[in-house]
């Protein structure tokens, strides 16, 4: 046995090392837990280096940019070089400061106006492995960050905290295939699950083919996942097409649209209302109706007396109302004004065209008939320009 092992020493060691790692892997998968110690060591070791690199990068970039500017200016004019360089240096510095201040201000404003309790964080590294769908931020458990917390920007959701270490946290981005969040569409309130595609885009899954989702429509978090508070923008629909049993909805995540430098981690989420879609407020122009035969005469006898009265566009209901009004006028009856004792209108009477209303018949001895429900006239004609 010993000879056999020594003879196949390399393969034996290989199998042993693989076996040990398989045990490690099985332990994590079986218990759904992590070997935290190793990760904490690794992240804690890398975070200061990443921070230092980030700081050095910022300084070096600014220095190099300004240096190049100064060199170009020197070749052009020696006298103006220092002044121009100084101004550009100052300009560059101010621009950088302004950009930083703008971003910080935007985050601060968002943080102030959002009821959820948040903490700002800066992206310092991406996760190893080349997938580019997980990043490290410089806030960890010492800042109150915990696994599962939502990560957002003012533009939308970014991801969720996959693991929180003392000095940093790993954030799984919305574009990762293993990411999922409950979302609801803004217009038709269609619910679905937002999932990453691995290549910078997302999809909304489990939406029935019968549901109505439109391109350009926004999806907001529904709050069902207990990670993201309700009402945070998730993304905009870029394409919709029917699938096997569910719609295939492509969504561009709005939280990653403007790059990823500073983010907010939601420590205590508060649900918000999903904003309603605003109806078009612009007035709609309506052209005047086409002229009809005898429009002038009709205008005189129209129900409202307006130019639209009895036009060719009148509906059956309009014609009926006009007919009843003529009957009423012929009998000197005003619909809607029926004091007790008023004689009922004879609807069988057919008024001749052009007939002037005669005096009201005084039928004191006439037996009063039951009054039929008089059609209610209205002066509000929505199509009338007099309104």
């Amino acid at each position: 046995m010993e000879t056999l092992l020594s003879r196949y020493r390399n393969v034996t060691v290989l199998l042993l090392v693989i076996f040990a790692q398989l045990i490690l892997l099985a332990y994590q998968v079986k218990n759904d837990s992590d070997v935290r110690l190793i990760r904490v060591w690794a992240v804690t070791a890398v975070t200061p280096l990443a921070r230092t690199l980030e700081g050095a990068r910022g300084g070096t970039t600014g220095f190099l940019q300004n240096y190049v500017v100064l060199r170009d200016t020197r070749s052009e004019n020696q006298k103006l070089r220092s002044e121009l360089g100084k101004l550009k240096l100052e300009n560059q510095f101010l621009k950088t400061e302004l950009a930083t201040a703008d971003r910080a201000k935007a985050l601060e404003a968002f943080e102030t106006h959002t009821p959820s309790k948040m903490v700002g964080a800066r992206v310092i590294a991406t996760a190893a492995g080349g997938s580019n769908t997980a990043v490290f931020v410089d806030r960890g458990s010492t800042s109150g960050v915990e696994k599962g917390m939502a990560v957002v920007t003012p533009d939308g959701i970014v991801g969720k905290v996959l693991a929180a270490y003392p000095t940093a946290s790993q954030v799984l981005l919305v574009t990762d295939p293993s990411f999922a969040a409950g979302v609801v569409s803004q217009k038709n309130h269609v619910r679905g699950i937002l999932k990453g595609m691995g290549h910078g885009t997302c999809k909304v899954d489990y939406v029935q083919n019968e549901e109505k989702v439109e391109t350009g429509e926004w999806f907001y978090t529904s709050g069902d996942d207990r990670i993201f508070p309700k009402g945070m923008p998730a993304g905009q629909v870029t394409a919709v097409r029917p699938g096997g049993s569910f719609l295939e909805i492509a969504v561009e995540p709005s939280g990653l649209a403007n790059g990823l430098e500073e983010v907010l981690i939601i420590l205590e989420g508060v649900h918000q209302e999903i904003p309603e879609v605003k109806a078009a407020a612009a007035p709609i122009y309506l052209a005047p109706p086409p002229p009809t035969e005898g429009a002038g005469a009709a205008a005189q006898t129209g129900p409202t007396g307006g130019p639209n009265a009895n036009s060719g566009l009148a509906t059956d209901a309009d014609k009926m109302r006009e007919h009843y009004k003529e009957i009423g006028d012929a009998q000197n009856h005003k619909f809607g004004d029926n004091p007790p004792g008023t004689k009922a209108v004879d609807f069988n009477l057919q008024p001749k065209p052009g007939e002037k209303p005669g005096p009201a018949p005084t039928g004191a001895g006439t037996a009063s008939k039951p009054v039929p429900p008089a059609p209610k006239t209205t002066t509000s004609d929505p199509a009338s320009p007099t309104q």
Binding site: N10, Q21, L24, V35, A128, G129, G130, S131, F136
Partner: protein, 177 residues
């Protein structure tokens, strides 16, 4: 240019000479490769597909020509990479352990100082690495990942080109006898 078996395969004791490196090189180069992978893609996203930890593992395994040394280098680099990734610990560890072992075994038989051989090996080990990782993801984690052959081949070629340049640079860090 034509390479006969005499040029490609190793026969003599002189040719199988093991390259030695200083301890700091063995520590700092893989660390720098991992740091590169976690930091640089923040600003240049396309560089996320550059598998520097793999290239470094392959280099040390090929040059040291020790299967046990190679597999340990691979295991350590892989586990370090795992600890900074979203994967369970062991995925890159197992993958790079196998790569380290195979690379060292290949290094015993081939003249790995030649650029063409390095280019081919760089390409082969990248594709092999991606395949093992894909197989482990499906087999052990049950993830429904697709093996994107065309993309892998293109990235393999790019990584191989980078590997040849990096190997040339790392050759200068070898300890001289």
């Amino acid at each position: 240019m034509r390479y006969s078996d005499d040029h490609v395969l190793l026969h003599t004791q002189r040719e199988t000479q093991i390259s030695r490196f200083r301890a700091w090189v063995l520590f700092l180069v893989p660390l720098a490769a991992i740091l590169f992978q976690v930091y640089v893609p923040l600003f240049f996203q396309f560089l996320a597909y550059l598998e520097l930890p793999l290239i470094v593992t392959v280099y040390f395994a090929l040059m040291r020509r020790s299967p046990i040394g190679g597999l340990f280098v691979g295991a350590l680099v892989g586990l370090a990479q795992d600890s900074l990734s979203k994967n369970p610990l062991g995925m890159f560890g197992i993958t790079k352990t196998i790569i380290g072992y195979v690379a060292a075994s290949v290094g015993l038989r081939l003249d790995v100082d030649h650029p063409l051989i390095r280019l081919i090996l760089g390409f082969f080990f990248f594709v092999f690495h991606q395949f093992i990782f894909w197989a482990l993801s499906r087999g052990l984690l049950g993830q429904s990942m697709n093996f994107e052959t065309q993309r892998t081949l293109v990235l393999g070629l790019l990584n191989a080109i980078v590997a040849v340049s990096l190997f040339h640079f790392l050759d200068k860090l070898k300890e001289r006898a």
